[in-house]
Symmetry: C2
Subunit: 422 residues, 2 copies
């Protein structure tokens, strides 16, 4: 009892799509989800009539707050012409759409449905930055946010603890940032699909145009050290350590394994699923590791019958650069206290031994919070099918990828493992 | 394909609890959920160590809006000492906690977990009535609420359509109200655990005390016709047609059928689960029947292998008195257009052939929206175990009960069927 981790039936992804993530003046949640849905349906190799979809799960953090509208399950279901079929919203802050995929997968594995759409959406950019911060703070522990401990501050504290414990410095984080921008440059769906050098050049143009002194940065790392280029947000988190405010949507089409062949000869199998919940920070044993992460990893590895060594690449929840280090340690890709060196040595780059956030991650691809978990899976889908274009991982034997999603300050963590073979 | 409705393993309820529903000045969501949880754990016949719980699903509509705090899965999980185990929030407006129970049941049926807590909570009374109305309107279709078509107005329109189509009158609705209050008088957890006569007497006392003219109502029905006692809210919905604003929590403990015997010799089996989503009202074929209701009923009856005739009693979502009539027709308990006569003849009373809302329903038990679906199941649990005390249905052969939950104006509808035998 309590040790069963195998699902009653297998679940596969047979389609995946996402909108471009960006700050949109002219597109709302419905338009963005429609774009993601169309791409998802079009991606099904052998085609599907959307009428075959039997149910939908949708992640959304708080469009309630951001655009004053709740109950998004039936709103999106209605948009797609799915009623009267069921539509359920899940919420786990920034991990909301991984929860949607998980609950949808359980429903298929239970035998209830065979074909289910799961995704997420968030619309954040139409209100002021201050209001977005207030909205995001709804995801934090009530013991933290009411003391002013908002997310940049929390991750600043986590970074400070990490530096003190392991001897890393803030400059180590810049290797995360530079790598994320390099990957995002290759991803047309990314909000910032440009390298740090591209941004440096834009900035120099701007200074010239305004007749201001033009800095002579010798490389990206020097620019990132310049407070004029990269000001402090919440010490030691600087601007380029923080993900942006975004609007966007993403979804995947899930089917029971035994019918996957009807839709594609190249399904992606969900072979591991895990989730954990976290305590308020004052009650956590450590700031540099998240219990919920480790529980999620344990559940997923047990289900998959795998160890961290088997994972070949992953999308992880880099809401802040420091989070990427914490996650790759918690998931077992690096020993605790060593991730910063691994990253510095290029271990997580596209051509490294363990590519992380080939999409550009939250930092560069963008972070419409309720859509992020599903969008991570869209990237894994592309990589495992060898369809990631210029950012395809140059490993001829790519079989197992993963996605890790975080909500709040570790209140919700998820870990999903995927394979392109059974 | 698409016809599988049997779950891979059976799921049972082995514990159930709820807070009293009320408007609390001195209790918040955490205190109320703690009360529900304690009662639930204490109700497990052979006992359970809460540490055995492997995951939690929690329904909440929008504490985001009502009390400016989101991400309730881990907040409640932390309160109960469950981290690092998973905690997922579901939202389907006023049907949020039925979605929690459904997703938890899928997770068990899938083989992932054996012991899961599922429930819901909402805290609505600490803000103004106008603000609560604004919050509730987040659940409506964006095509409706921005035109001022709030919930009392929508259900007023539904009632008007029902009256015009079937020749019923508003006075027929009073038979729903009087019956609900009679049942609630017998339910100590009900926000209004008093009959209409009790309320009439309180009112008379008040008039006397203030030296105002004292009405001479010959019975409840005459009082309900008096606009001084029962003023119009949104014609033809009067005060006593509308459920109150409430705070509260409820939960059930779900386990895999094969281990239920470890916790009780009298589990309640979940034998049918169904859900539907609805279109915006302007696009619905009818105002007097909800497509989503019928889809939910179809799914649940198919899974249970039952027909409406097999259901012996039900809790249904009487957010407004007219809704009770619509639901019992949509679920097939009465032919369309006949429920008002069935109710008038006493068919839905405690000693009638089809008791409805023995708990007092939303109208009298209260409606903390995210808790309502789970609370309906708490009532079914008590009835099917013969433990409903003075409001126990006087039917010596009670085996099958149901609960029907609605979100928005039919955006989400659910139907659950339970049995005390396999």
């Amino acid at each position: 009892m309590g040790e069963k981790r195998k699902l009653g039936r297998g679940v596969c992804i047979v389609g995946a799509g996402m909108s471009r993530f960006d700050m949109y003046k002219d597109k709302d949640s419905k338009q963005l989800f429609a774009e993601a849905f169309k791409e998802c349906i079009d991606s099904v190799d052998k085609g599907i009539d959307p009428k075959e979809i039997q149910a939908m799960w949708l992640g959304n953090f708080t469009n309630d707050f951001f655009i004053h509208q709740g109950h998004w399950g039936p709103i999106i279901s209605d948009l797609l012409g799915l009623p009267p079929k069921p539509a359920t919203r899940t919420e786990g802050a920034c991990a909301s759409s991984t929860l949607a995929v998980k609950d949808a997968a359980y429903a298929i594995a239970s035998g209830m449905y065979d074909i289910v759409l799961a995704g997420g959406v968030e619309e954040m950019s139409k209100i002021s930055t201050e209001a977005v911060s207030e909205g995001l703070a709804l995801a934090g522990s009530p013991y933290e946010v009411y003391e002013g401990f908002t997310f940049p501050a929390v991750f600043g504290a986590i970074a400070t603890a990490y530096f003190a414990k392991y001897g890393a410095t803030w400059e180590d984080l810049n290797y995360v940032t530079v790598k994320s921008h390099e990957n995002a440059k290759l991803n047309p769906k990314a909000q910032f699909n440009m390298t740090i050098k591209d941004i440096m050049n834009l900035r120099i143009e701007k200074y010239k145009k305004k007749g201001q002194p033009v800095p002579e940065w010798k490389d990206e790392y020097e620019a990132l050290r310049d407070p004029r280029f990269n000001p402090v947000v919440a010490w030691p988190m600087r601007l380029f350590d923080c993900c942006p405010i975004s609007d966007g949507a993403a979804c995947v089409l899930l089917v029971a394994e035994e019918i996957a062949h009807m839709f594609t000869d190249h399904p992606i199998y969900i072979i591991g699923m895990g989730q954990g919940s976290g305590r308020a920070l004052h009650d956590c044993p450590s700031l540099t590791s998240l219990e919920a992460n480790k529980h999620a990893a344990k559940e997923a590895y047990e289900m998959a019958g795998l160890t961290p060594k088997d994972i070949q690449f992953a999308e992880v929840h880099d809401c802040f650069s420091i989070a990427e280090l914490i996650h790759i340690e918690d998931l077992g890709f690096c020993k605790e206290g060593t991730a910063y060196r691994f990253v510095r040595e290029g271990g997580t780059r596209l051509n490294g031994p363990m590519p992380i956030n080939t999409s550009g991650g939250l930092k560069c691809k963008g972070h419409p919070v309720g859509a992020t978990g599903a969008a991570q899976m869209v990237e894994v889908w592309h990589q495992l099918r060898g369809e990631a274009g210029p950012r395809q991982i140059p490993n001829g034997d790519l079989h197992i990828g993963a996605s890790q999603n975080l909500g709040g300050t570790g209140g919700t963590c998820t870990f999903m493992i995927f394979s392109n073979e059974k």
